[in-house]
């Protein structure tokens, strides 16, 4: 129970701070911490393989991509100036977010959730592999295709268009 509380702290606090910070780089770095917390949660819950995956994908890959994106878009204008509409939007966001939080909390707390008596059996990596390659082969293949296509799409979208003429700059 304590572990879970620590994990919650490690996860929520950096996330909240990251959302509030002005500097995007800092936000990104803090989010890495939050993602690591989530990995810890997976570990705590007994899904070790998932925890490693979370670390590899989020902490390792996505954070790097985010950093690159921040750096690539950074040099002209920072997200500094508070535009007249920014404050209003922040307030509205807080309000709505709070409402959602309230609703969710209300829903969770008002629902009795019986817990299964059996302790979680460990899901081995071997078991996962068998599951993936037998029952979910097609899904696995589709995900592979999806990743390839996403990669190609990202390359195409992000590649600097050498032929970009004046009409592209509109």
């Amino acid at each position: 129970m304590t572990g879970l509380l620590i994990i919650a702290l490690v996860t929520l606090v950096p996330a909240a701070v990251a959302m509030a910070l002005r500097n995007v780089i800092h936000s990104a770095l803090l989010l890495i911490l939050s993602w690591a917390g989530i990995a810890a949660f997976y570990f705590w819950a007994g899904a070790e393989f998932l925890a490693f995956s979370q670390v590899l994908v989020y902490v390792g890959a996505i954070s790097m991509v985010v950093l690159f994106a921040v750096l690539l878009t950074r040099h002209t204008r920072t997200d500094g100036g508070v535009a007249p509409d920014t404050l209003g939007r922040a307030l509205a966001g807080l309000l709505i977010g709070g409402a959602v939080l309230g609703v969710l909390f209300g829903a969770v707390l008002s629902t009795p959730l019986p817990i299964g008596s059996k302790p979680a059996a460990a899901v081995t990596v071997h078991g996962l592999g068998v599951e993936l390659m037998e029952r979910h082969t097609i899904a696995l293949l589709v995900v592979g295709v999806l990743l390839t296509v996403a990669l190609l799409g990202a390359v195409v979208l992000a590649a600097s268009d050498s032929r970009s003429g004046p009409e592209d700059a509109r």
């Binding site: 969710l104 059996a121 993936l132």
Partner: protein, 105 residues
């Protein structure tokens, strides 16, 4: 009213979700909006694991598999989303989300 560990897990994921949501709603940098969305996704993954862990049949490993696919999709989404951000930036010279409204109907 008994607060079980499952309740706690759900509260955690709800809080994370709302942080992501507030971020996505209030920040104007599209990168941060994306990161908020990413957090919301993670919150959803937390729920899967929680229900798997405390569900009636944890031996099946369904929740784990689901999250695994979800992570894969999230990775794809992040890559494409950030590429879009870069593309928008190239056209607009800005990453402010409120500036990207050329697709207005």
């Amino acid at each position: 009213m008994i607060l079980t560990p499952l309740h706690l897990c759900l509260l955690l994921s709800s809080a994370l979700f709302c942080i992501g949501l507030i971020g996505a709603l209030s920040r104007s940098s599209s990168i941060l909006v994306l990161l908020g969305v990413e957090l919301m996704l993670n919150a959803a993954n937390l729920n899967f694991i929680a229900f798997w862990r405390y569900g009636p049949n944890p031996a099946a490993g369904t929740g784990v598999l689901f999250v695994l696919f979800s992570i894969a999709v999230a990775a794809a989404e992040a890559a494409v989303g950030l590429a879009l951000v870069i593309a928008i930036y190239r056209h607009q010279r800005s990453i402010r989300l409120q500036d990207a409204r050329r697709l207005k109907g």
